[in-house]
C-alpha cells in the first residue's frame, strides 16, 4: 500500500455527523494538508490540463505566449505615443504588467470553476477539496512560466537599470501571490458553486479592474490622485513583481497592502471553508 492510500483510509474513518466529528476546524486543516501532501496528483493533473487544452496544436501552450507578445507589441507602440512615454520605458512596463496581470486575473476567473468544473470527480471520488485549488493555482503558474519568456526578451531589447540583488524580492512576492491564488480559488470556487451568478459578475469586475489598475499605464499619470493606484491591492501584487524587474522602487505601501490582503483573505476563507466544506459535494 502506498502512503497516499493510507491517507484515504484515515479520512474516510473520520466521516461522522457534525456533533460527533472531531471539529470542523480540524477537518478543514486536515483537508488543506492532505491536499498538499498529494502534490504528485495535482501537479500531474495540472500538466495534463495544459496538454489536453492544446492537443493537436503545434505550438501548444506557447500560443498563449504569442497572443500576449502580439498584444504587447501592438499596444506598446500606440500607447507609448498616447502617454508621451519613450518606448524604451513603456514597453518593459507593459510587458511585465500584462504577463503578471494575466497570471493574477487568470487565477481569479479560473477560480470560479475550482469545484464546479471538476464536479464529476467530486461526485465520485473522495479527495481533499483543497487539492482542486492547488491544481488550479499550479496550472496558472505553469501558464505564467510560458508567458514569462517575453519579459527577458523585452528587457534584452530595452535594457533597464536592474539592481540584481533586488530580484530576490521576486521569491516572496510570488509566494504571496500564490497564497492569494489559493484562498481566492477556494472562496470563489465555493461561492460560485453555490450561486451560479457569481462567475459572470466576477468576469465583469475583472475587466473593470484591468482598466483602473496601472498595468498598461504608468501610475504617475494620476498625478495628485496617485493614491488611487497605491491602495489598489491588484496593483500592489503586480508592483512587487514588476518593480524589481524594471529596477524601479516598489511603491511604499505595496508590501504592506499585499501582506494584509493575504492574511485577511486566508483567515476569512479558512473560516468559510471550515464551515461549509462538507456542503461542496451537494452544491456542485
Amino acid at each position: 500500500m502506498t502512503s497516499s492510500e493510507t491517507a484515504v483510509d484515515l479520512r474516510v474513518d473520520e466521516i461522522a455527523a457534525p456533533w460527533q466529528r472531531p471539529s470542523r476546524t480540524r477537518s478543514a486543516v486536515l483537508d488543506l494538508l492532505e491536499g498538499l501532501y498529494q502534490s504528485w496528483l495535482w501537479t500531474t493533473l495540472a500538466h495534463q490540463d495544459l496538454k489536453l487544452r492544446y492537443r493537436g496544436s503545434i505550438l501548444g501552450p506557447f500560443w498563449q505566449t504569442i497572443t500576449t507578445a502580439v498584444m504587447i507589441g501592438a499596444m506598446g507602440f500606440i500607447y507609448a505615443k498616447l502617454f508621451h512615454t519613450p518606448l524604451q520605458n513603456y514597453l518593459p512596463l507593459l510587458a511585465a504588467g500584462l504577463v503578471f496581470w494575466q497570471f493574477t486575473s487568470g487565477m481569479v476567473t479560473d477560480g470560479c470553476g475550482t469545484f464546479y468544473s471538476v464536479q464529476g470527480i467530486i461526485q465520485q471520488v473522495r479527495l481533499p477539496f483543497s487539492l482542486h485549488a492547488y491544481r488550479l493555482v499550479y496550472r496558472n503558474l505553469l501558464i505564467l512560466m510560458h508567458n514569462f519568456f517575453i519579459v527577458p526578451i523585452v528587457l534584452f531589447i530595452f535594457p533597464q537599470s536592474i539592481v540584481w540583488p533586488r530580484l530576490l524580492e521576486l521569491g516572496p512576492g510570488l509566494a504571496l501571490i500564490l497564497l492569494n491564488g489559493i484562498w481566492v480559488s477556494i472562496l470563489l470556487g465555493m461561492v460560485s458553486a453555490r450561486f451560479r451568478d457569481v462567475p459572470p459578475i466576477v468576469a465583469s469586475i475583472v475587466q473593470v479592474v484591468f482598466f483602473i489598475t496601472p498595468i498598461f499605464w504608468p501610475a504617475n499619470g494620476l498625478g495628485a490622485h496617485r493614491w488611487l493606484a497605491e491602495v489598489n491591492p491588484i496593483y500592489a501584487g503586480i508592483d512587487v513583481l514588476r518593480a524589481p524587474l524594471l529596477g524601479q522602487p516598489t511603491e511604499p505601501y505595496s508590501w504592506l497592502i499585499l501582506t494584509t490582503v493575504t492574511v485577511i483573505g486566508c483567515a476569512a476563507t479558512f473560516a468559510f471553508f471550515a464551515r461549509f466544506r462538507t456542503r461542496i459535494a451537494f452544491w456542485v
Partner: protein
C-alpha cells in the same frame, strides 16, 4: 479487515435550483413525495435518506435496490465518502473504489490509455505504478486500437469496459458500483462478474445498485430495499428481492 458501518444515517440537502414553481410541481408529483420539506428560508429540502443503519463486512456482496428516487445513489455516495451524513454516523475501513457514473472521471478528450492512468491517479495510484498495470487493463477491456482514440468516440458499452477495467486493476477492498454496469454486453458482464468474484474471495466488499433483479440475484448475497429514503428490508438477497416484488405489486406498506 474492511467494513462499512452506518448508524442512523440521514442525508438531507436543499435543492437550490428549485426556485421555479414548475420544478417544484414536478418534484411534488413524483414518487419522492413526502421527502420534500421546506426550511425557514423556503428552500426545497430533500431528505434522501432517513435513519438508515446497517453494516457490511468482509466478503459480502451487498445489493441496493429500490424504485427511482428511493435514495440508492445517495446511499452509494455516502458509502463512497462523497456525501457526509447530515445526521448519524458512518465509519469505514478499506480502500474504496467507486464507479458511480461512467462518464464522470473519464476525460472525453483524452485517449482510452490516458484515461486508464487518470482513473488510477484519482484512486491514489501513482502514474508510474499505473503504467505497469496498464497493459493488463488494456487487455481486459478488449478495446484494441480504440485505446489510442479519444474516449469521445466510444460507445456507452465501451466506456463501461474501460472504466470498470481501470477501476479494478488493483483489487479494491471496497468496490461500489451504480447500476450503469448493465450497459455492458452479456459477454463483458460475465467477465466482470468473474473478476469481482475473485476480489470477494480475497475478502473484499462489493456494493451494487441495480434495477436488474436477475443481475442482483447472481452477484449479491445480501441487500437492502430502499423506499423514499427508508430502509424497508435488510437481509439475505432472496428476502430483499421478495420484498421488492411485493412493493412493486402492492405498493408501500
Amino acid at each position: 479487515m474492511s467494513f462499512l458501518r452506518l448508524r442512523d444515517v440521514s442525508v438531507e440537502f436543499p435543492i437550490y435550483q428549485a426556485g421555479s414553481r414548475s420544478l417544484k410541481k414536478v418534484l411534488l408529483a413524483s414518487s419522492t413525495r413526502g421527502n420534500l420539506g421546506r426550511d425557514a428560508r423556503d428552500r426545497v429540502n430533500v431528505r434522501a435518506l432517513t435513519e438508515v443503519s446497517f453494516e457490511i463486512g468482509n466478503g459480502e456482496r451487498f445489493a441496493v435496490i429500490g424504485l427511482n428516487g428511493a435514495g440508492k445513489s445517495t446511499l452509494l455516495k455516502v458509502l463512497a465518502g462523497v456525501y457526509e451524513p447530515t445526521h448519524g454516523r458512518f465509519t469505514s475501513s478499506g480502500r474504496v473504489s467507486s464507479l458511480l457514473d461512467i462518464q464522470v472521471g473519464l476525460n472525453v478528450d483524452a485517449t482510452g490509455r490516458e484515461n486508464i492512468i487518470l482513473r488510477g491517479m484519482y484512486m491514489g495510484i501513482h502514474p508510474y505504478e499505473m503504467r505497469e498495470r496498464a497493459a493488463e487493463v488494456a487487455e481486459f477491456t478488449e478495446l484494441g486500437e480504440y485505446l489510442d482514440m479519444p474516449v469521445r468516440t466510444y460507445s456507452a458499452g465501451m466506456m463501461v469496459r474501460l472504466a470498470f477495467a481501470a477501476s479494478t486493476c488493483i483489487p479494491p477492498e471496497i468496490l461500489i458500483m451504480d447500476e450503469w454496469l448493465t450497459a455492458g454486453d452479456a459477454q463483458f458482464l460475465e467477465k466482470a462478474q468473474r473478476r469481482v468474484e475473485a476480489f470477494v474471495r480475497t475478502s473484499s466488499i462489493l456494493v451494487l445498485a441495480s434495477h436488474s433483479l436477475e443481475l442482483i440475484g447472481q452477484w449479491c448475497n445480501r441487500g437492502i430495499l430502499l423506499h423514499q429514503g427508508h430502509a424497508l428490508t435488510i437481509g439475505p438477497i432472496p428476502d430483499v428481492i421478495a420484498a421488492y416484488r411485493h412493493l412493486l405489486e402492492v405498493g408501500a406498506p
